[in-house]
Amino acid sequence: MQPASRFSTWFNRDGWRNTIIAVPYGWLIAFFLVPFVIVVGMSLAMRTPTSPPVGYRDNWPYVVFENYQRLVSDSLYIRAYATSIWNAFIATVLCLLVGYPMALGITRVDRAWRTVLLMLVILPFWTSFLLRVYAWIGLMGSNSWFNRGLTALYNSVVPADWALRSIPMMNSNFAVVLVLVYSYLPFMILPLYANLERLDGTLNEAAMDLGSRPWQVFRDVTLPLSVPGIIAGGLLVFIPASGELVIPSLVGSAGDPMIGRVISDEFAAARDWPMASAVAVALLFMLVVPLMAFNHYEAKAQGGGSP
């Protein structure tokens, strides 16, 4: 009986509390923090013909910075970063242009329709990501009804000399951006909707009463008030899009790869773990900068005491 009651005393006082903290804490340290530290350490190592293919220098300072030097001197990496950032940026802007009117539209219908429309926006997000990319491979192929239709449309407006048999859509940055927009659009619409739904409708009415046209109301009232939603949605699209691996591997061009594909290729095909790690660490830094800016902005907005 003694150990059991000692256990229950411990558990009742603060054991339950410590357990609740310690289990997830320990898990995240073991399987998230430690692997991350390994990657950082790996990025300062040399590639060796051993297994695992990593080694350090024998003398001080033990680590090498060659990988990071290659990162800034080899145009392959610079181009891959530029392609990733550019594709992700264009996709984010397009998501905003398509998603904003959709989110605003959902706030303007009555309650029953809102639930249905939100469901319709969320449903593709729950179905397999891979299959949604796959669906576009079918559509963009040169024999598909979609490509033929677009080709016919294109041929009917351009001079006969420019006529094409089919539009080369697959394996290009165009395909990557299109599928990025398709895959990440719900991530833009949902935070925008959450933000727009909370806006006070009486502000719009006040602006209208004071003689503003609908377009002016949107420009001067709705748009400025929805900036937090735009930023949140933008980050939710931009950050995963710039590190994307599946989409560029399936529909992107091999000659102009995005950084996710470079990391994966360095690691698996070239077996250059230190280089793959350095590319990964540099990518993380590039993603953390906009995030810090966002946090700073949020803190300032909250400190500013908005109503």
Partner: protein, 281 residues
Amino acid sequence: MKRSPIFLISCLCFGLAFFYIPILSMMVFSFNKSRLATVWGGFSVQWYGKLLHNGQIMDAALLSLQIALVSATIATVIGTMAGIALARFRRFRGRTLFSGLVSAPLIMPEVITGISSLMLFILMAEWIGWPGQRGFTTITIAHITFSMTYVTTIVQSRLSSMDVAIEEAAMDLGSKPWQVLRDVTLPIISPAILAGWLLAFTISIDDVVITNFVTGPGATTLPILIWSKVRLGVTPDINALATIIVVLVGVGVTLAGYILLRAERRRQRDIQMALAAATEG
């Protein structure tokens, strides 16, 4: 306020068409007689028949389902613990690092999570001899790690919007803190926990990038199988498989959404009745 936002409604229709036309096209072509996946050659259900006799696909689906069930359940338990810790325990040692660790997997690109997990498993095998072979266990561990933080986010936001007066009342009536947690807090946040489980399950069964890195010989999940087939091109049997998955997920999500919505409405009604009773009394 403007009452006929025709522009917005047409944008909505256009957007929803953009969402659903590729999926519908894929479903239609799963009934294609032709071997060419994108040229119509007549109606047929032969690809569905072939699918049922494909043992490889069935095994992969079963493995995916097992991994998703195990990892979602463990991720929900651990993730809920983290959510409670962050929302209810104001102060403990290392809280800043803890909250950073909880949000970091959400922004970490999957390629990096995959590579770093794989490096950990390889080095662990080198140093302590475990895991001897990568497969079910390593995939499950990796899935738990990145899906638990989604559960945490959901549970934490529900807890912070919950009225602490109910918990304080139970405490005043003589319950020990952990009894309050067990008998009051957990039942109230159970819809959020269920939603977290569903999200963790979906993330696990859908994942291809992280699984691709931490998997080993013999452990082929359904997304990995599809991934390896899709890289070779579009085939009608993948169309059929995709149609089955989309229909199953569609029905499942609609049902789950309906149940969660009803539970939420009932909860709101109970709270209102309790409040009404309290003010009358």
